[in-house]
């Protein structure tokens, strides 16, 4: 497989993701409070938290969809608020419940996003991506007829077609059956191993986090209450038998 991660430059020695006193509010409601976070290149980061903790808002900021109300967020050393084009050149994004143009085929959809990313040979990149994800059979079918699992595979294709350095996945296992979950897990690990992609994943599925992620962060009511590697986390909580038990303990002990 000749797929390569994009070779655009990063700011020298900068981490893949860096949040500094990041805050976001919707009106009077504070969703993110003073988040400081650093994720190095090559990590698979699992962002955990209950519903409404602020995980999706953080991803929306990091993918430049919304601007932070205070603090800074940088991706590959570039500020998401002021250097949007530099950031969007380096990221891929798969939102929860991904939808695409239902009247276009999978190939047409992914090629459209490839062109928006400004890559030189979009058609070749699409073929290569479908082949890499083993979903060439879906390429010429209209997306409107796809199941959730099929949509998810095409969604990943659009997210990586331009070979981003950092891949954002928001609840990627949502709506998938066990086979789909396993395929997704294998894809994430492969993307990280083959292409060196940094992966930032919002999820509730703690069993998947334990199998996929190298580092986790726990968000509680907009505050980052924990961040460490999976190995260090297991060592720190020797009495707990699973990541789920550890997570529940963290949530209960949160202020």
């Amino acid at each position: 497989m000749g797929i390569d991660v994009m070779t655009e430059t990063t700011q020298s020695q900068s981490p893949a993701i860096e949040l500094d006193a990041l805050c976001h509010s919707y009106g009077d409601t504070e969703v993110l409070r003073n988040i400081d976070l650093r994720i190095d290149h090559g990590e698979i980061f699992g962002f955990l938290g209950h519903n409404g903790a602020g995980k999706t808002t953080a991803v929306n900021i990091l993918t430049t969809l919304i601007a932070p109300t205070a603090g800074t967020a940088r991706v590959c050393g570039f500020d998401v608020a002021t250097e949007r084009h530099e950031v969007t050149s380096r990221i891929g994004y798969l939102p929860a419940d991904v939808r695409m143009y239902p009247h276009l085929t999978a190939r047409e959809n992914v090629e459209f996003f490839a062109k928006l990313s400004g890559i030189a040979k979009p058609s070749a990149a699409v073929d290569e991506t479908f082949e890499y994800l083993s979903c060439s059979d879906l390429a010429d079918k209209r997306v409107g007829s796809f199941s959730t699992g099929m949509r998810q595979r095409v969604g990943i294709a659009q997210a990586i077609v331009h070979r981003p350095q950092v891949l954002f996945l928001d609840e990627p296992t949502s709506g998938l059956d066990p086979v789909g979950v396993r395929q997704l897990r294998e894809t994430i690990i492969r993307l990280n191993a083959d292409l060196g992609m940094t992966v930032f994943m919002n999820t509730h599925l703690l069993s998947e986090v334990a199998k996929v992620c190298t580092t986790i962060g726990v968000l509680d009511h907009g505050e980052l209450i924990y961040k460490d590697t999976i190995a260090a986390t297991t060592e720190r909580f020797p009495d707990e038998t699973s990541l789920e038990d550890i997570y529940v303990r963290m949530e209960r002990s949160a202020p």
């Binding site: 969809l65 239902p102 062109k115 928006l116």
Partner: protein
């Protein structure tokens, strides 16, 4: 980037069943305009022929055939009615479909996590919809030309074709107003059903309510060929008379009548003056659309509706 957005827009629109049904309806109505024109022509000529026979039997001279006094394009005068009704609905749906998937299916999140500017995105959407509208009206123009050729039993002259093309260009500008209304309502309301309802509300006001206020209130205006209102001292009528130039459907119908020569011939300057409100409204709506997209929150997904 603008071309990429526009191309996607065109392919996506042409594959949507709702759009195809509306397009077919407009084409059928165009053909119907020709049939109605032929029917009218046939009836008048029939009556004239009978009258000529009657006059000849009395030894009286026959007046000239009234239909030969009519301009050739008068056969299509119904088009100036169908365009504001069926055509405007088609245009609303076209504008609505152009943005609604990006807004309510959450595709906007994917688009704006790419290196595209929001202004380019909206311009691409407008260009795509405008191109589809051109294709629709070219199809309608072809049907109109064929209808004219059949009814008149001869191909329209170059001058007639020129005027017909000018009518369709005017119609394109008029319908762009509704395409843009369809887009703006999606951006304002953010909900699929509410957006379409709001757009329909705007269509009703522009097509029916506003003309009623600006000219329909004057009973003398219903009596053709009186065009200018009878002077009155009533303040309300004075106000509504001043509002008349802003009724785009009135301006469209007046300009259409001048171009097709179904009413008195007017100068090009006069026609351009009638077109100006349409052009102005289109520009204002396009600028509003670009401004709305620029400040729009596309981070919400399909579950947020």
């Amino acid at each position: 980037m603008i071309a990429t957005i526009a191309r996607q827009q065109i392919v996506s629109l042409l594959r949507q069943r709702t759009f195809v049904v509306l397009l077919a309806t407009l084409i059928v109505m165009t053909a119907l305009a020709g049939v109605l024109g032929w029917s009218s022509h046939h009836t008048i000529v029939g009556v004239y022929d009978e009258a000529v026979k009657l006059l000849a039997s009395r030894g009286d001279p026959a007046p000239p055939n009234p239909f030969l006094l009519e301009p050739t394009l008068a056969l299509l005068s119904n088009m100036a009615v169908y365009i504001p009704f069926i055509g405007a609905l088609l245009a609303l749906v076209l504008g609505h479909l152009s943005l609604v998937d990006d807004e309510t299916n959450g595709i906007g999140r994917l688009i704006f996590s790419r290196r595209i500017s929001r202004t380019h995105y909206m311009i691409g959407k407008i260009v795509g919809a405008a191109a589809v509208l051109v294709a629709v009206l070219l199809a309608s123009l072809a049907v109109s030309t064929i209808s004219l050729a059949i009814v008149n039993r001869t191909m329209p002259t170059g001058a007639d074709l020129g005027r017909l093309a000018a009518f369709y260009a005017l119609s394109w500008l008029y319908l762009m107003v509704f395409v843009l209304i369809g887009m703006v309502t999606v951006l304002i309301t953010r909900r699929r059903s509410l957006a379409l309802l709001s757009a329909m509300g705007a269509w009703l006001v522009i097509t029916f309510a506003f003309p009623q206020i600006t000219s329909g209130l004057r009973p003398t205006q219903s009596l053709n060929p009186i065009v200018d209102p009878v002077s009155t001292s009533q303040a309300f009528f004075r106000f509504t008379a001043k509002a008349r130039p802003y009724s785009v459907v009135e301006q469209y119908k007046a300009a259409s009548a001048s171009i097709l020569r179904t009413a008195g011939t007017e100068s090009t300057t006069s026609i351009l003056r009638q077109v100006a409100p349409l052009l102005g409204l289109s520009i204002v709506l396009a600028v509003v659309g670009i401004g709305l997209v620029d400040r729009h929150d596309f981070s919400r997904g399909s579950n947020d509706e």
